[in-house]
């Protein structure tokens, strides 16, 4: 049977299928303009501002990766800190071998992707809540292995051995690195969703049994996403390491608080949308900036926001907005006719 010979159909004219070409061009043009403006910031503002934006950039990258895993492939991971920590620690290794930290970020992403491949066989033996707990356990095991290496600072953390000496240049380079990682995470996610894989992933998220029965290779799709998300988290981990010129302690960089942060940002922004994690990261960044000094009240405010959004805006801030307006910066929908 070919595309033209579905049994029972006549050779009638079919409606056209669109994919929001105008909205796509507008969205990508707007995104490019924002990224270019952000790239120019080191020439325009104080390094304190770009220093803060480094955090926003890696938060967006982390949220995008967790959204890719959970919002598109249906894998609720609580162990992405394994790859954040590996990204940071492998950066020490490549940096010790003379690779500068900026190119090294790309190298550690690739290395962590390679490590994530065998780990996926372990993690994929579990499903649902067991998968979430299993990934957390994997992260703890990775931490326990890393602290066995004295050359990596053992349980005490360590500093990078070779960084740009000029502090002004170093801050600018770190900011551009963070910006590049954020752009790659968001636009990479978008490109993946626009591909054939993206439609398959959304099918897997909604019902993996039905997806398999329609020819979607469920395990391969999930593994691709797991590896991509590991590479993205490793890049974010490398940025965190470069920004702090090292790692304060393995407990901090391998801490489950990163997973909790990712969940918070994605739920607040809107799970299953490309834009949601960006909005969620921005919301968390602002909460952190203005309430972090408020001690326990900071946590109360963060918790209250999470509860309020979950109860009243279950699709998150962007998800609710998009549902009401039909607007998307990164459209992925197919539209028949019109």
């Amino acid at each position: 049977m070919t595309a033209q010979t579905v049994p029972g159909t006549e050779a009638t004219a079919l409606p056209a299928v669109h994919r929001s070409r105008r909205a796509t061009v507008l969205g990508l043009t707007g995104t490019a303009a924002v990224l270019l403006a952000m790239a120019a910031l080191p020439y325009l503002v104080d390094s304190g501002v770009t220093g803060q934006l480094v955090k926003l950039c890696y938060l967006v990258a982390l949220a995008s990766m967790w959204n890719l895993l959970t919002g598109y492939a249906g894998m609720m991971s609580m162990g992405q800190q394994a790859f954040i920590g590996l990204g940071a620690y492998l950066l020490f290794v490549v940096n010790d071998h003379g690779v500068n930290v900026y190119a090294g970020t790309l190298v550690v992403s690739a290395l962590v992707a390679l490590l994530a491949w065998p780990l996926s066989y372990l993690a994929f033996r579990l499903r649902g809540g067991y998968f979430a707990v299993g990934t957390w356990v994997i992260a703890e095991v990775v931490r326990l292995i890393v602290v066995r290496f004295d050359s990596l600072g053992a349980a005490s953390g360590r500093s990078l051995s070779d960084v740009t000496a000029d502090p002004v240049l170093r801050r600018a380079f770190t900011y551009w690195l963070a910006l590049a990682v954020m752009a790659a995470a968001v636009l990479g996610t978008y490109a993946m969703l626009r591909s054939r894989l993206g439609l398959g992933l959304q099918a897997i998220r909604d019902d993996d049994t039905a997806a398999g029965s329609l020819g979607v290779d469920v395990t391969r799709g999930k593994r691709t996403v797991y590896i991509a998300a590991a590479a993205g988290c490793a890049a974010a981990g490398a940025v965190i390491c470069v920004n702090s010129l090292g790692v304060a302690s393995p407990t901090q960089i391998f801490g489950v608080q990163y997973s909790a942060l990712m969940v918070f940002m994605v739920i607040i922004g809107g799970i299953g949308t490309v834009e949601g994690p960006v909005i969620g990261a921005l919301a968390y960044f602002l909460l952190d900036k203005y309430f972090a000094q408020s001690g326990v009240w900071y946590l109360v405010v963060v918790g209250a926001v999470a509860i309020a959004v979950s109860l009243y805006l279950p699709r998150g801030l962007w998800g609710t907005f998009a549902q009401r307006t039909g607007w998307a910066v990164f459209p992925v929908r197919h539209t028949v006719g019109r």
Partner: protein, 242 residues
């Protein structure tokens, strides 16, 4: 005599200690429509799941066009030509109706771009879903969900179409619409294996009827003869009626 397109030999499926299917043999020639009836718990849906790869066979073989697919994944079986619907519709709720069908056309039929979109649209056309193409699948009523199950399976360009109670829960008028659609598919030469409790709908389409009970085939032959036979009466009404 030509080899059957689908052949099931000594098929058994167990869930732990429970034997759901036992020593099932079934051969379906190309272009034939076979109906399967039987009481609840007879193993009908499990048979379809074992054929489509959703459930693993604990013994026996499933062959498609002579190729042993018993250990092949559900996705690969779909790509080889086994399309199926589910008894309880399983739409991709956050995708549109068109995108649901497109999944089948891209991944099951292995088509790309315009060819995939055309096949998806044709499958919606034949099932009467084209006007709902942009609607979210999660918002569809039952009849449309049943039709979407059929459309998605057709979009995989199947050689064998497995239908699991697509007329169940529908009004008489709705069921008749579906029967007309399946009949046109059968008349176009598609091989069909159809489980249905609505026997009136089934006999309008199938060439052959199989009665399954307690995981075993009890009768297999002309639909009217099978329905009039003692085995079916025994299966549905108990030993006293036989």
């Amino acid at each position: 005599m030509t080899a059957p397109l689908l052949r099931v030999e000594h098929l058994a499926v167990s869930f732990g200690e429970l034997r759901v299917l036992e020593d099932v043999d079934l051969a379906v020639p190309k272009g034939q429509a076979v109906g399967i009836v039987g009481p609840n718990g007879a193993g009908k849906s499990t048979l379809l799941s074992a054929v489509s790869g959703v459930e693993r066979a604990s013994a026996g073989t499933v062959r498609l066009a002579g190729r042993d697919v018993t250990r092949v994944s559900a996705a690969e079986r779909c790509r080889l030509g086994i399309g199926r619907s589910f008894q309880i519709p399983r739409p991709f709720v956050d995708l549109t109706v068109f995108e649901n069908a497109l999944v089948g056309a891209e991944r099951g039929a292995g088509l790309r771009g315009g060819h995939a979109r055309e096949l998806a649209l044709r499958s919606l056309e034949v099932t009467g879903l084209l006007p709902l193409a942009n609607k979210s699948a999660g918002a569809l009523p039952l009849l449309a969900r049943k039709r979407l199950e059929l459309a998605r399976a057709l979009a995989t360009a199947p050689e064998v179409l497995l239908l699991d109670e697509i007329a169940g829960g529908l009004t008489e008028g709705e069921a008749e619409e579906l029967v007309a659609t399946v009949l046109s598919l059968k008349e176009s030469g598609l091989t069909i294996l159809w489980i249905e409790h609505v026997v009136k709908a089934l006999v309008q389409v199938v060439d052959r009827l199989v009665c399954l009970a307690s995981g075993r085939i009890r009768a297999d032959g002309d639909p009217h003869e099978v329905l009039a036979g003692a085995e079916v009466a025994e299966v549905y009404l108990g030993g006293a009626a036989a």
